[in-house]
């Protein structure tokens, strides 16, 4: 039988606010345990939550970016359950009236684009952390993370493969960073995913029973976990079994999912509106201001890069993966006045490789877009060749000097003086009669040997176009 997979994702994005969603405590990551938690975060008797307007602002930005309905009136609710790192015994979240309603996101898989529905996105507070190591059989509680603002983005069950799920997750990851509402740091848990996975016989309308895989924190693991789960479910059904609705955990070491709790064991969260918080009202004016300030979104930017700069799909996709990279490209292009393709190749090639090697992000690049533009300008006006440029780039990476300063200091200026080049060419032809013979008898490959010899003799500074032209003339058969 042929099977179809149905996947929906719930993604928790940590909103990049300075303070927590309901208190003034900072959200900074990595501080000593319980140093970033105030009386409100600790759930002391008598304390009350006060909503951080910045979290609402960021949620609305997201909603506008996915063309969603923004609720004119949304309500916070209490989700009740006991856990040691949940200080109040309930999490403040949103249930019936989330701030962001139906929206959508375009993804592209193998060149085919597809619209994925987004059911809703709601604001909630994060819990603390239970620390099981270092406490000799006891558990430590760190409430630094408690109260950190989250936007939980729930998709429709619109994805049909792990590949689509990953494409959706990547697209969303790119979007929240473009919008500057989330730092996207997956290692620190700023972007976490729960996947709902089910299978059904191809052609069947009803969904199969789904399993929810909790807390997967990398693109690679999402793909692996979903593929494992698809295999597990198909195998189970084909062997006469039934999928049960349950929550499962993905073990990345064993590359398998394991049952965590069944539907029967699931909590009844007893949601009800939080009487400590007022409803949130979003006006048309508020939305209009945000809409006017929305940056160009990744998809639109990619298409523009392809149209405006005649870039191929791959380069356009890489350059628009982050807003910073795209800005870097556009600045370098404008300052250098060079061809878009040359600029793109340099950024996706030389620069990206150097950044990767050093483990740096584009915004921390030692070579700024203006400095790179200086180098590209010298390639454009043929002061140096592409090969010499790589050498100059290496120097620039190590220092703060401009391309011009390095070219001058090292005497790397390209030689276009035909007289000087001719002298060398004559010398090489005279010194290699065998090769000249070979070339003249029709061995085209030998031509590269002559170019190499001339360039070597001239320390790479000769204008390659000139060398080619003159060599061809001299070696004329």
């Amino acid at each position: 039988m042929e099977w179809e997979t149905v996947i929906g994702l719930e993604i928790h994005t940590q909103l990049a606010t300075k303070s927590k969603i309901f208190s003034g405590a900072p959200t900074a990551y990595g501080a000593a345990p319980n140093t970033q938690a105030c009386a409100v975060d600790l759930g002391l008797p008598g304390v009350l939550p006060v909503l951080n307007e910045e979290a609402v602002h960021k949620a609305v930005i997201f909603g506008m970016a996915i063309e969603a309905e923004i609720a004119p009136y949304s309500v916070f609710a209490r989700k009740n359950y006991f856990y040691p790192d949940l200080p109040k015994g309930y999490q403040i979240s949103q249930m019936e009236l989330p701030i962001v309603g139906k929206g959508h996101l375009e993804i592209e898989v193998d060149g085919v684009s597809k619209r994925i529905g987004i059911t809703r996105a709601h604001l909630e507070e994060d819990a603390g952390k239970s620390l099981h190591e270092d406490f000799h059989g006891l558990t430590g509680i760190d409430l630094n993370r408690a109260g950190t603002p989250l936007l939980e983005i729930v998709s429709e069950p619109d994805m049909r493969s792990a590949k689509e799920a990953v494409a959706y997750m990547k697209q969303l990851h790119e979007l929240v960073r473009y919008l500057d509402i989330c730092d996207g740091n997956m290692q620190e848990g700023s972007f976490r995913c729960d996947a709902n996975v089910s299978v059904r016989p191809k052609g069947q309308n009803e969904f199969g029973t789904r399993a929810e895989i909790k807390n997967i924190n990398s693109f690679k693991f999402v793909e692996k976990a979903i593929n494992y789960e698809i295999e597990r479910q198909i195998e189970l059904i084909e062997n006469g079994g039934k999928v049960v609705q349950e929550t499962r955990l993905y073990d990345s070491v064993k590359d398998e999912t394991r049952s965590m709790r069944s539907k029967e064991e699931a909590n009844d969260y007893r949601y009800f509106p939080d009487p400590d918080l007022l409803p949130v009202f979003i006006s048309e004016d508020y939305k209009a201001v945000i809409k006017a300030q929305l940056p160009e979104l990744p998809q639109a930017k990619k298409h523009r890069f392809k149209d405006q700069y005649a870039l191929d799909e791959e380069n356009a996709a890489i350059l628009t993966y982050s807003c910073q990279l795209a800005d870097y490209f556009e600045t370098a292009l404008k300052e250098s006045g060079c061809e878009a393709k040359l600029c793109a190749n340099w950024i996706t090639g030389e620069l990206s490789a150097a950044l990767n090697k050093a483990g740096l992000e584009i915004m921390d690049s030692p070579v700024s877009s203006e400095r790179l533009a200086g180098l590209l300008a010298r390639i454009r006006d043929k002061t140096i060749s592409g090969k010499i440029a790589k050498q100059v780039f290496e120097e620039m990476w190590q220092s703060t000097a401009t391309a011009d300063e390095i070219i001058a200091a090292k005497g790397l200026k390209q030689i276009t003086d035909t007289g000087a080049i001719e002298l060398i060419i004559d010398k090489i032809i005279a010194g290699n009669p065998g090769q000249v013979e070979q070339y003249r008898s029709g061995k085209d490959k030998v031509f590269a040997f002559f170019v190499g010899q001339v360039m070597k003799e001239m320390q790479g500074k000769a204008n390659p176009g000139e060398v080619n032209k003159m060599l061809k003339a001299k070696l004329k058969r």
Partner: protein
């Protein structure tokens, strides 16, 4: 000294008749002498004397406020930095808050002297002060009767002159009913008028702090310090605070008073009804016009309240889990054991009853039938008040169906106990302000008159109540043995 009003004491402090330290010492002495009333859970003698000394300096330096140097007491539901805050529960018997409630902070800023923390029903759940972990409070008018609840310690202490004034909180009548049963003045302000920050939550959408005093004049002064917007409480309302003392003597001629017939039917003790009739007559003499009105949904208040309040409390009290503070059971075997025994041993019977009721009402499959329905009723009741207050200026009625009942009389029968708040609960559901003032005696026990006003019309309520106190002396009479 202990019979003087706040204004008289403030004058005495300024004229040098007595110092704040002397005044504080006098009250501390009375508190100790009358410990059998069991009004205080904590007497903060050392800090009280320290603060009195500071108040005397402030008085001498010439920048005092009206309450500077005046000894008051806080219901033990308000968090006080450095002084134990128990909420009447074993669960918090060891809890010292690291911060002050906004109300406490306001009194500290004013220079008031905190004598200590007053007994109360556990987590403010009760109408007799018998659910306190620290034992029942006695009513100074009759030591065999209850003072009412949940602010029973506050009412008894003020009636017995063990504090000049006190704070209380009112979720379904917890200021007004004990005020009535102890013959004092108690005001529940409009929901949102007084900050709830640092006031341990019972039912967040109903809880409201307010003053408990011997006179309306003192209540106006206390409310002045308590009221106001607080950015730490999203449900507090950002409206200007009027001068509550300024209009106390305004004429009330032409005042339209509504008497809902639902307040005067079966269930109201006939002697109490007679006393209220006399009180209403007094208002007629002051020039008020009396009308009978209908508030058809009032009879739904108790069932709606006993869904909404327990539902909210079931979540509010989840934080008491033995993990971070408060009571923790001995040698927990595992996490479940830690939770179940800490909560099982730390909470009393009534608290557990309400947590269970609330958990049930919010459960899947019951939510619509209980919680949603109760919220609909709540809106109907609010409509009743809006309609009534469109026709009349204030609504008057009883506070409690009877005078103070015997200790042990109702504690075994929760339904009967819940019915003792039948006239007060609807006010909390609607959120309007109401005051209880002494309006006579039945068999030597005080009777309270309830006056209910429009949203944020506390000044008007105080004015109407004060005019009555100018022509009556019920509020001036001390209980025997506490003169």
């Amino acid at each position: 000294m202990h019979n003087k009003t706040i204004i008289q004491l403030a004058q005495g402090l300024r004229s040098g008749e007595f110092s704040s330290v002397e005044l504080t010492q006098a009250f501390l002495k009375r508190i100790k002498r009358h410990q059998k009333l069991n009004t205080y859970i904590t007497i903060s003698e050392d800090s009280a004397l320290r603060n009195a000394k500071a108040a005397d300096v402030r008085l001498a330096n010439g920048n005092p406020e009206l309450l500077t140097g005046i000894p008051i007491a806080q219901k033990d539901i308000f968090c006080t930095e450095g002084v134990k805050t128990t909420c009447g529960s074993k669960m918090l018997d060891n809890f010292i808050a690291p911060y002050n409630a906004t109300v406490v902070e306001n009194f500290n800023q004013a220079g008031a002297v905190l004598l200590g923390k007053l007994n109360m029903d556990e987590f403010a759940m009760g109408s007799s002060n018998e659910t306190s972990y620290y034992g029942p409070v006695k009513n100074p008018w009759d030591m065999n009767t209850v003072p009412g609840g949940s602010s029973g310690g506050s009412a008894s202490a003020v009636a017995a002159r063990l504090a000049v004034a006190a704070t209380g909180t009112d979720t379904g009548g917890s200021i007004r009913q004990p005020a009535a049963l102890c013959g004092i003045t108690g005001l529940k302000p409009t929901y949102g008028r007084v900050s709830r920050y640092g006031m341990i939550a019972y039912a967040s959408s109903l809880d409201q702090g307010g003053p408990m005093t011997r006179s309306v004049e003192d209540a106006a002064i206390m409310l002045q310090t308590m009221a106001g917007f607080d950015e730490k409480d999203s449900t507090s309302v950002d409206l200007p605070v009027p001068d509550y003392s300024a209009g106390l003597n305004n004429s009330i001629a032409g005042l339209k008073i509504g008497l809902p017939k639902e307040f005067f039917g079966d269930g109201l003790n006939s002697d109490v009804a007679a006393a209220l009739e006399t009180a209403v007559n007094e208002y007629r003499k002051l020039g008020a016009e009396i009308r009978e009105i209908a508030m058809p949904n009032l009879n739904l208040a108790i069932p709606a309240y006993y869904v909404i309040a327990p539902a909210e409390c079931s979540a509010n009290l989840s934080r008491f889990d033995g993990v971070r503070y408060g009571y923790r059971c001995e040698n927990p075997a595992d996490l479940t054991d830690l939770y179940t025994r800490s909560r099982g041993e730390g909470f009393g019977k009534e608290v557990k009853r309400r947590i269970l009721m609330g958990t049930y009402a919010l459960s899947a499959g019951y939510y619509d039938a209980y919680y949603i329905k109760a919220q609909k009723i709540r809106r109907l009741i609010s409509e009743d008040f809006k309609n009534a207050l469109a026709q009349v200026d204030v609504v008057m009625g009883p506070v409690s169906p009877t005078t103070a009942f015997g200790i042990g009389e109702k504690i075994g029968n929760p339904i009967e106990m819940y019915l003792s708040d039948i006239y007060t609960i609807a006010i909390n559901l609607a959120g309007v302000p109401a005051i209880s003032i002494p309006a006579g005696f039945v068999k030597d026990k005080p009777v309270g008159l309830q006056i209910i006003g429009n949203y944020f019309a506390e000044d008007r309520l105080l004015n109407i109540a004060h005019r009555y106190q100018q022509v009556t002396d019920w509020h001036l009479q001390p209980p025997k043995g506490f003169e």
